[in-house]
Amino acid sequence: MTSDKATRPKAAKDPYHWSARGFIAPGVLGVAVLLYVPLLWTTFISFTEYNGLGDPEWIGVENYVEMFDDPAFLGSVLNTLLWVGGTLLVPVGIGLGIALLTWNLKGGTWLRLPFLIPYAVSGIGVAVIWSFILGSGGALDQALGAFGFSDTPRWLVDAPLNTVVMILATAWQGVGVNALLFTIGLQSIPKEPLEAARIDGAGGFRLFRSILWPMLRPLTAVVVGLSIVASLKTFDIVQGMTKGGPGRDSETLALTMYKETFVNSEYGLGSAIAVFLTIVTLAAAILYLRQQLSSKHEG
């Protein structure tokens, strides 16, 4: 990063001034027109009453007041928190476990393969498979029935069970990439401290706690941060499996935003939810970036 500034000729003599501007212009323009202008427009709309016809009418923070009074919104916040916690616990946790189990193991690459297959499946693809498995009388109920459990819960109907099983379906999809990232992290750990620790008699859990975990910390921060940001935006799998239902029981913030905006044509309220979601996401991103930066200084 420092090389950007070093040994640069004075700006007036810079022969590439215009050509540099020309090279960066398409990127800046594309991002400005299609991402930043819409972003500002959504923020503006969140302070207005608007349904797409006529002009937006300024109503101050009324949408935000309405939003926090709405039990459906508060339920959606709770579900989203469940998603954030659940996807940290299950896919990240199991991913780390698989990376540790396959680490330095003969055939580890092959043993990791089953977990990687679901990763590139789309959220809707996952929803199609798991709706089939979890539906009433579906594959899971049949399997449980064979073992004598006939009174199975309604997996996709009872809340909050439906959110929990959808988190597990997401875990099925996401474990592999977390395992892959942790594996890259484990491979970059220098051998010397490991040898030293082993000579000292450390093994198993102690080795993990005293050497591996501290050395994996920067990578863990990245994986955790990515997981939080992704789970806050959960949409596809819920829309594909329960459509936020029954009623509004399994809605996440992204789903509530979609419904208010595009189903109820409450553009102002929908935009307020989008702004709320963005603030929460940014707060989470900043928290994890700070952690990542501070851990970089240590290494």
Partner: protein, 282 residues
Amino acid sequence: MPSKSTAPPFKSTARVIRTAVLAVLGLLWLIPVYLLIINAAKAPETFTTTHSWRPTDFSLLSNIGEAMRLSGLADSVLSTLVYAVVSPVIAVLVGAAAGFAIVALRLRHGFAWFVAIFGGTVFPLQMILLPLFDAYSRMNLFDTRLGMILVYTAISIPFSAFVMRNFFTGIAHNVFEASVLDGASTGRIFFRVYLPMASSALVAIFILQATFIWNDFLLGLVLSQSDTVRPIVTSLAGMQSTYGGAQMSTVLAGGLLVSLPTVVLFLCTQKFFSRGLALGQY
């Protein structure tokens, strides 16, 4: 990824247990894949919702053919291929040009411009959905392939610029100076010197973005309507809610058809893929 270390970090008796645990867990992970394949292969007439675990037919191809006809999946395949190729190619070039301007041409306030471009990826998509829908409707871009390509390209640019700037930072600046002494123009240096050197990073970004676009649901849901424009995952979701009850095996075949390309691409390019992820994160 074989290890070069001679002494394993855990006792060798533990290896058997580790392998066994992984094998069992791996089989568990493959069960949904098994269920998908055998049930997608059942003819709609023999398909029942009461015997999901036993394979009965081998009608996978005819089910896929039927899925292509239902809900316009065949039209979607074609448009989605266009989106998943054209948008990442443009985004990779635009991102590389931005990285080139900042690193090689030493654009004034380059880092600030970089942050401005990269910042576009920090916000959730929800912040741009409504204005895009509104503006697209007014500008006759709603439900057009051009509209889809534009938005897919724009959201792919920040990541591409991020990776390419990092990549070009690793190239010594005297490569640029030497090319200038040879009398090459900046355009020529970009296309003939810098892009070829970056080919592995370009491929990594392309694969990641193509997968992302192929798997997109939300943008397709909001910005398109007709079978010919709708991306494939959005069509699959429509098919699931329309035919999920009556023609389940066809829907499952559709799910298999939609998932196969990205899964195969990902498994074949794991190395590139994880490198792309790693490049994007450090």
